[in-house]
């Protein structure tokens, strides 16, 4: 028996977001907008070399420049300990984090920070960078993931011994980890197959591409009350990481959440905050550091480039008998690519008896990768969904039909271990088949591709406070930065429980001293998990209000029921009392025991997995190799769309990023290991004229673990587009696309054979 959708009054309404007017008038304050009296500007010196030993850094000339107040290098930081620290979503290796923040013995990539200067103006700070003398001893470097895995590859870390291999190798290598899991017997499964397709797919490293560069303002105080203002996906995680690296207690640092101009995973870590705080300590002045766009590309995390070998077998009637994936992901300079989620998601859409996945996490002389929307999943989906497309061609079966026959459903045990509860994958496939787009005729040189995608979604530690004001209006305090309209969702859910108009509710994002710890804005968790905390806090408010009504009426608590924003007698037996509204009760709060404050702190479990199916039409210009996306439909199970416009927005935004990944975006390195395209001119993300309208269909199969059935939605929509676009191009040119991006020169050479 499936869980039925919950009837709601406010949840599901398209209200104007509470922070909307601030954001359309330019009033909203983002990371770089903060300004403190006496504030200095800081700049970071970055290695121009892909791999070099730092023999000596002489900062004396820079320090002597008029206007310079402080210079720091790796030597100014406390010694790095081998420990792990809370990164908001996962534990982070403190030593790697610190070395990536500011190089110590070696610079490991073009763009690796080696020193920082604070001065009275940005231009003086920049001039001072030129005066810092760094003596480098150049070392051989390696960029490509497969080259980095070779026996004789230049080594980045002489203490890296591959984990996950028994016995652990005694010789160091660039392979940080190997992982493997599976089910059944793939040899037997392939023996049962009528058709087997095996191919190797490659994707380039791509950047999250948020339009706001990283920015932080820090003010050190000698009495243990330092402050940081920054745009991040989680100011609590910024606090944990910064205090761990600077040997401080968490209570000694207060982190204020600025508005955040996009993150997509890339603002879950630290690049600037400890540097700014240390410069502030040294100079005695507040410090602002704002990255340039070039620094964002060279110094902050892209996602992994990948090589994914995939082999899938199926019978002529469309049953998948076996599947294998072997993936190699670039981690950048330090261990920690999303190889594991890549492995875990590879076959998650399907119920496959015999399957095996093997993954390698590989370091090379690139910036340390950071999370990027559904980390690791788009690359394996590209491979698996491309191979399935080819199988459907070979067995002459409709590609949606093939997926339908093998779709994961309630009760399916995913290869990574979870047994799915109520999920909506089949519903998305059905909606795709029924959509007019799926059967619309194609023009000349056009092709259609479909592809599916999965993401786990997470819950986790979440808090919320709700203050009832004396006049009956309400303030919600949320602990999580709002990147895409989550304030609106929180207000809708609070309004639903309190039974009052969302107009009566205001919301603010609390800093680390104003509300209890909460995990990151990441993992598609905020509307689900923090939303649950808001619901709990609102229920707490309702409970207290009902208690007070019971007191006034001199009846039992059970005799009071909350409806439409007021306490009512639960039945006529209780007595004949006029309802007491939230406003009535708030006005008498002082007499009844003080202000009503609702609070909750939960560890939200039961995040419902999300699935999507996308349909993409492209038109190929066979003369130039240019691909235009001419029609696109994204279908996704959202469980329950709290604010449908922002759910659609997540789907459309994910599609655009995926289209960029498929067609244009890539990190390009020269022979010296320097990034050749660190700017939006040469690293070209899709612009308005590159995209068509993006049609969306929200499917709602409720998540039984959420009071309104919510599932996370932010990450799923970037999983299918790589394959949806590639499959469409493959059909348009009748050749299989194995490598992204499908840029014009690459496609031309494929067309020309």
């Amino acid at each position: 028996m499936g869980q039925e959708p919950v009837e709601t009054k406010w949840v599901g309404k398209r209200i104007v977001r509470p922070d909307g007017v601030d954001k359309v008038t330019g009033r909203a304050n983002f990371g770089a907008d903060m300004n403190l009296p006496g504030m200095l500007e800081a700049k970071i010196l970055r290695s121009p070399h892909a791999h070099a030993r730092i023999k000596k850094i002489d900062t004396s000339k820079a320090e002597a420049l008029k206007g310079v107040h402080a210079v720091v290098t790796g030597a100014d930081f406390p010694e790095l300990k081998a420990a792990s620290v809370d990164g908001g979503e996962a534990q982070v290796n403190l030593k790697d984090l610190g070395e990536n923040l500011m190089a110590r013995d070696k610079a490991l990539y073009d763009g690796h920070a080696v020193a920082a200067v604070a001065a009275t103006s940005a231009s003086i700070a920049n001039d001072a960078l030129d005066l810092i003398e760094v003596e480098y001893e150049l070392l051989p470097h390696v960029i490509d993931v497969e080259a980095a895995m070779k026996d004789d590859a230049p080594l980045l870390h002489d203490d890296m011994f591959t984990s996950g291999v028994e016995p652990q190798p005694k010789k160091p290598s660039n392979i940080a980890a190997r992982m493997e899991f599976g089910a059944g017997d793939t040899a037997k499964g392939f023996a049962e197959a009528d058709v087997i397709v095996e191919r190797t797919f490659r994707t380039a490293a791509t950047h999250q591409g948020y339009i706001e560069p990283h920015a932080a303002v820090a003010e050190w105080t000698e009495d243990g009350q330092s402050r940081i203002w920054c745009s991040s996906q989680g100011h609590f995680a910024i606090r944990s990481m910064t205090t761990a690296l600077l040997d401080m207690e968490e209570a000694e640092l207060r982190v204020m959440p600025a508005e955040i101009g996009g993150g997509f995973g890339g603002k879950t870590t630290i690049y600037l905050e400890p540097v700014a705080l240390l410069l502030s300590k040294k100079s005695g002045r507040p410090i602002r550091i704002v990255m340039s766009r070039e620094e964002v590309f060279r110094g902050s995390g892209p996602t992994s480039g990948s090589v994914v070998k995939t082999k899938i077998g199926a019978t002529n009637d469309g049953k998948i008998t076996a599947g294998e994936v072997e993936l190699k992901y670039e981690a950048g300079a330090y261990a920690g690519s999303p190889a594991m989620p890549g492995c875990m998601t590879a076959f998650a859409c399907y119920d496959i008896e015999n399957a095996k996945v093997v993954g390698y996490d590989v370091v090379s002389n690139r910036p340390k990768c950071a999370a990027y929307r559904a980390p690791g999943a788009p690359m394996t989906a590209f491979a698996v969904e491309s191979v399935l497309d080819e199988i459907s061609e070979k067995i002459k079966m409709d590609p949606v039909e093939l997926r339908m026959k093998n779709a994961a459903k309630e009760g399916t045990r995913a290869l990574y271990g979870a047994k799915f509860k109520q999920i909506g994958f089949e519903e998305t496939l059905k909606a795709a088949k029924d959509h007019p787009h799926y059967s619309a005729p194609l023009g000349p040189n056009q092709g259609r591709g479909i592809a599916c995608g999965f993401w786990f979604n997470i819950g986790g530690e979440s808090t919320a406070n709700i203050n009832v004001n004396p006049d009956g209006s309400v303030t919600v305090v949320s602990p999580n930065p709002d990147i895409g309209g989550s304030r609106a969702s929180m207000v809708l859910m609070a309004a639903e429980v309190l039974g009052i108009d969302p107009e009566k509710i205001r919301i603010t994002i609390g800093d680390t001293a104003s509300i209890g710890y909460s995990g990151l804005t990441g993992g598609s968790r905020v509307t689900f998990a923090v939303g649950m905390a808001v619901v709990e806090a609102a229920k707490d408010v309702v409970k207290q209000l009902c208690e007070r009504a019971a007191k006034i009426w001199e009846v039992d608590f059970e005799g009071v029921e909350w409806r439409d924003g007021a306490a009512h007698p639960a039945s006529t037996n209780v007595g004949d009392f006029d309802p007491l509204t939230l406003g009535d009760l708030a006005a008498q709060a002082g007499k009844l025991g003080g202000t009503v404050v609702g609070a909750s702190s939960i560890n939200a479990r039961g995040a419902g997995p999300g699935f999507g199916t996308h349909i993409c039409d492209v038109e190929v210009d066979k003369e130039t190799g240019r691909v235009d996306v001419v029609r696109y439909t994204a279908i996704q199970d959202a469980g329950k769309a709290v604010h449908p416009s922002y759910v659609e927005g997540q789907m459309q935004g994910g599609v655009a990023q995926g289209v960029g990944w498929a067609l244009n975006e890539e990190y390009i390195y020269n022979d010296d290991g320097q990034l050749e395209n660190p700017g939006f001119l040469d690293y070209r993300v899709p612009v308005t004229s590159d995209m068509p309208m993006i049609d969306t269909v929200i499917v709602e199969v409720p998540n039984p673990f959420h009071p309104y059935g919510v599932r996370g939605v932010g990450e799923v929509p970037i999983v299918p587009p790589l394959a949806a676009v590639a499959n469409a191009v493959s059909h348009a040119v009748e050749k299989r696309m194995e490598q992204l991006p499908i840029s014009p020169p690459r496609l031309l050479s494929i067309i020309d054979g």
Binding site: G261, F264, A656, S689
Partner: protein
């Protein structure tokens, strides 16, 4: 280095400032005049987050020098709304949820306003090409284009 004295009009009001010869209009707006609604996404003319209107034309303020504003008429996001009501394009952005993080939004609104000032009946293609210099990484542009279409309709009185 001596600074340059500039007299100009910003959002209809005469302002004077001193700027360095190499200082961009974007830096002047943000750092000298405290108008931080105009954003910096790249400083190389590639993202449009810094869009302002100068004498009726959309300009990347990161590519213009502060000194060049002498005697000109500069409009920024802060001047788009009247004290008691939003510009139709601001209103439609809110109605359509045409912003997620909102960082690109000031640039889009300024560029869209300049389009609507000269053409209140743009086609979808005209809107898409007019806004092609503004990057948005969050929305996929769909809702932005629709918001501009509806703002145009509102301004036509349709």
């Amino acid at each position: 280095m001596s600074k340059i004295h500039v007299t100009t009009s910003v959002n209809g009001e005469e302002v004077e400032y001193l700027c360095e010869a190499q200082q961009t209009m974007l830096d002047v707006l943000r750092d000298e005049l405290g108008l931080t609604g105009t954003k910096e996404g790249c400083s190389t003319g590639d993202c449009g987050a810094c869009s302002v209107i100068v004498d009726g034309d959309v300009v990347c303020s990161c590519l213009m020098l502060g000194a060049e504003a002498e005697g000109r008429n500069v409009e920024t996001i802060e001047g788009l709304a009247a004290p008691d009501h939003l510009h139709p394009v601001q209103k439609q952005f809110l109605e359509h949820a045409a912003l997620q993080c909102g960082f690109c939004t000031p640039g889009f609104l300024v560029a869209a306003k300049a389009l609507l000032d000269r053409n209140q009946n743009p086609t979808e293609t005209e809107i898409r090409y007019w806004l092609a210099g503004n990057l948005c990484r969050c929305t996929g542009y769909d809702k932005i284009v629709r918001a501009v279409q509806d703002a145009a309709a509102e301004m036509r009185g349709a």
